[in-house]
Symmetry: C2
């Protein structure tokens, strides 16, 4: 096992609560990577020796982004739907079926190449852990295929057979729920760490959602929920009732929803690139944080409602549009994402953590929102290795 000393770090974000401030920042810092893990963190002048050293010339280092919500296994392009939406056609969940048709028609190689392209793009933008959902197959074989492909790129695979009721079950949604909780789950289970359901008008109601999530929980697959995106609804309460790891979207919440999130510890996943690309109101992130809810920021990268793979873009939106401080936004995009995925090995840079980190072409993390749209990621390390 070799060690690498990163020195000349202008500002280092550790997310270590023991350091006092939210981000556990260290100025004029150094960090030692021992093999795949963080070995040492501190002030540059106290740095130990290592097998090799790299002077970062004052650049900032942050934990790699943990993107806890994405839909990368798909084929096709909905840029024309986007263009129409920007000139007045509202977004509806029904558009998902367009991608389902294209995905079913694609070969394994085409789907794999598309995921590979997008994961590479994410890594170039500093994402070191990404959750990937199925949900554009919606047959037993196509969901299992999507999850097997996702599993080539991440451990954080999510079975989302319950993304929308496919056209062929339009007259028999109960039959589709039976499929999702029966044969489709049987085929998906071995590839899935998570099970998810889109609880929304036009998708699944609370009873359907409960049946679907409970079928997964009974198999040892943990729950997460698409909740309250397009209007108030039962998604958040269902997530809290079942002890899901996260309720994602949270665009329309009642006081009772916020109380439930705060008291159960279910993470609220906020996906502001979706509000950007659907021209919708943003979630009230301040109300959530002020109520003590744990917030994760994620891209929700998908070809329909929002096709950004950029965590820095989400941070800039979180600051500008959702009134998070830059520190809160970065925390939510790293430690918050890790909480959403119930991971303790990522989302922070303390000794023993996986050495997932990002070197910025900037002196501090503030530049992620101070310089919106600018590609500031100089280098991404995953498990101690540059990618």
């Amino acid at each position: 096992m070799t060690s690498l000393l990163l020195t000349g770090i202008g500002s280092l974000v550790t997310n270590d609560p023991a350091r006092g401030d939210l981000l556990g920042e260290v100025q004029d810092a150094a960090l030692v990577i021992d093999g795949s893990k963080v070995g040492w963190v501190g002030s540059r002048r106290d740095a130990p020796a290592a097998d090799a050293a790299l002077d970062l010339g004052g650049r900032a280092v942050i934990p790699g982004f943990v993107d806890s919500h994405s839909h990368l296994v798909f084929a096709g392009d909905r840029s024309e739907e986007f263009e129409a939406r920007m000139t007045g056609t509202p977004y509806s969940a029904g558009g998902i079926r367009t991608t389902v048709a294209a995905t079913r028609a694609a070969t394994d190689e085409q789907l794999t190449a598309n995921v590979s392209r997008l994961v590479t793009e994410m890594r170039r933008q500093g994402t070191t852990t990404v959750e990937i959902k199925s949900g554009y197959g919606l047959t037993v074989a196509d969901e299992a295929r999507a999850l097997a492909i996702a599993g080539q790129f991440t451990d954080e695979t999510t079975y989302l057979g319950a993304h929308v009721v496919p056209s062929e079950y339009a007259d028999d949604p109960a039959g589709y729920v039976e499929l999702v909780t029966g044969p489709m789950l049987d085929a998906a289970a071995k590839h899935s760490r998570w099970i998810d359901v889109f609880v929304e008008r036009g998708a699944f109601d609370a009873d359907q959602g409960r049946a679907i999530l409970e079928s997964g929980i009974a198999r040892g697959i943990q729950a997460r929920v698409h909740a309250n995106q397009l209007g108030e609804g039962p998604g958040v309460q269902l997530a809290c009732e079942l002890g899901a790891a996260a309720a994602d979207h949270c665009t329309y919440l009642t006081d009772a929803d916020i109380d439930a999130l705060a008291s159960t510890g279910v993470v609220a996943g906020l996906l502001p690139a979706i509000e950007f690309s659907t021209r919708s109101p943003y979630p009230d992130a301040r109300r959530l944080i002020d109520a003590g809810v744990t917030v994760a920021l994620a891209t929700d990268c998908n070809p329909g409602s929002g096709y950004s793979s950029s965590m820095p873009f989400c941070i800039a939106l979180a600051v500008r549009e959702m009134h998070l401080t830059p520190a809160e936004a970065l925390w939510s995009a790293t430690a918050g994402g890790a909480a959403s995925l119930r991971r303790t090995d990522v989302g922070h840079l303390t000794p023993g953590a996986r050495a997932d980190l990002v070197v910025l072409d900037a002196p501090s993390h503030l530049h992620l929102s101070y310089r919106p749209g600018v590609p500031l990621v100089s280098q991404t390390f995953i498990a101690g290795r540059p990618v």
Copy 2:
């Protein structure tokens, strides 16, 4: 002179009005670069032979971005001011003085290195022409120095001695106008293609602005104006009265302002990254376009009110926040910028134009707004050469 055939272009934006649609798009296209210029444009199947060929595999090609408004000659960083603003401290023009102090204290080498870094960053994001202003020196020597440095990177240099009244003239603004129109202009003239003034409460009024611009015009230096950014005011009318090339910002306009822009042909420069980073309302771009005003999109990259160097980010904001169509936004970021700078050789890809073009990692230009925040520029060519 060697020629290069770019073929396999999924979609080519020419901005050629003879092709009918706003962007003069050609599907399944090819383009020949002859030396520094565009030699031929058309359908791939009609492409002529060339000395070399490059197959772009279905990627889109667009004209290079023409960023008609930036302030790159400065030192220091105002990320903490940005952070304070995002948590409630409003933006004021007075913050410019912070950067003036840092810029005066910097060496030529430091300033040059900073411009070089930012121009490189812009080129990586597809900008092939950039206007650069002075305005953080505000002494005879410091303004001349800033313009000489800017001139190492662009022909589009703008003398902005009238950015704000510097502290040492706080009690004598009339004396500062005399300096700007006298000895400072003498020193700046040989380095300047443009003269500009910030007409705004807290900066310069209409009479001061007129005196400043007329002093430049009398020397053959063309006028452009910072107008109507923080409130309604006389800037746009002054730009129209004097035949300026552009009135930039245009955030607060009266009906009479819009009529004046439309009837005089003064280009309205819209800088939405500034509204993003100052959390201000966006200009009503639709009203301008529907009235027949020529609109340019630009970054206004500067360390105070908005530090984005990204034209793709401005396009995404223009679509989402200002209701431009994706085609209008791209036109404004290319042909519109060229109009703002009174350039006929850039901003389009027709035979004879300078071969300034961008290859996108995307099948069409729609992805610039469909995929916000994602670095999609695969390759930038300036005057026929990859950069």
